[in-house]
Symmetry: C2
Subunit: 124 residues, 2 copies
Amino acid sequence: MQFDDKVPIYYQIKNHIYHEMMTGQLAAGAKLPAVRQLAVDLTVNVNTVQRALGEMIQEGTIESQRGKGNFVTTDTTRIAQLKEQLVVEQLERVYQQLHALNLSDDEIITSLKQYIEQRGQQHD
Amino acid sequence: MQFDDKVPIYYQIKNHIYHEMMTGQLAAGAKLPAVRQLAVDLTVNVNTVQRALGEMIQEGTIESQRGKGNFVTTDTTRIAQLKEQLVVEQLERVYQQLHALNLSDDEIITSLKQYIEQRGQQHD
DNA sequence: TATAGTGTAATAGTAGAATAGAACACTAGG
DNA sequence: CCTAGTGTTCTATTCTACTATTACACTATA
């Protein structure tokens, strides 16, 4: 896996797993790959995986069963809340950053629209 | 100054200075505060300031004059390009992140609009 | 020419992230 | 009961960001 060295790997692993949860690759109640397998897949150490999972267990995002494995919570409401929270965090950050670059509210929206339009022409 | 411990301080200092350049607090050709003063203002070590400035000097964003000080480049085209680049970087990142959370192009734009609208009602 | 203000560089030490490796605890199935 | 698969924990080590401190190089000016 590709990592941005500007941000801790364990943090990026959390986002990676969130991604799979939100896209349905990891449905509610699903069993995650074994920590040692995850470590291999992500080309990362087991302890780093464990650190990421540890935080997600604290959050209630996943549930750990010793000897069995780690499982996505079956609480779909919890997952929906999590998604909303993650989206808002992203929006807050980009808004703050673009505002700091002196873009007005309208300019922020417009520039995003333009970016997506141009992107649509070139890719996908 | 407030720092996010998920990203290197020297990196956040660069953004801080970019911010002041884009908002005109640091106009083209303007002299930056002395590195030791910046260190005090940002409650950070001189070497950390120097690391941030060093990268900006490499970029051509600021110019260093030994014994005199550091100055914002007078090349306004360069500054405009930099701003465009920084904006696009932010857009790319938020697009990728929200896309990873399974939001469609339209949902991304809509959610940003909603966020800004709600924000406008509560703040400022 | 002396001094204060500036950028630059080097050293040494601290803390946190990440790694490697081993050991321990629990579960399921033969 | 044994074994394989699982999560959990611990120690030691490496690397990088950051800090603290000092010294050096250059500029302007009194």
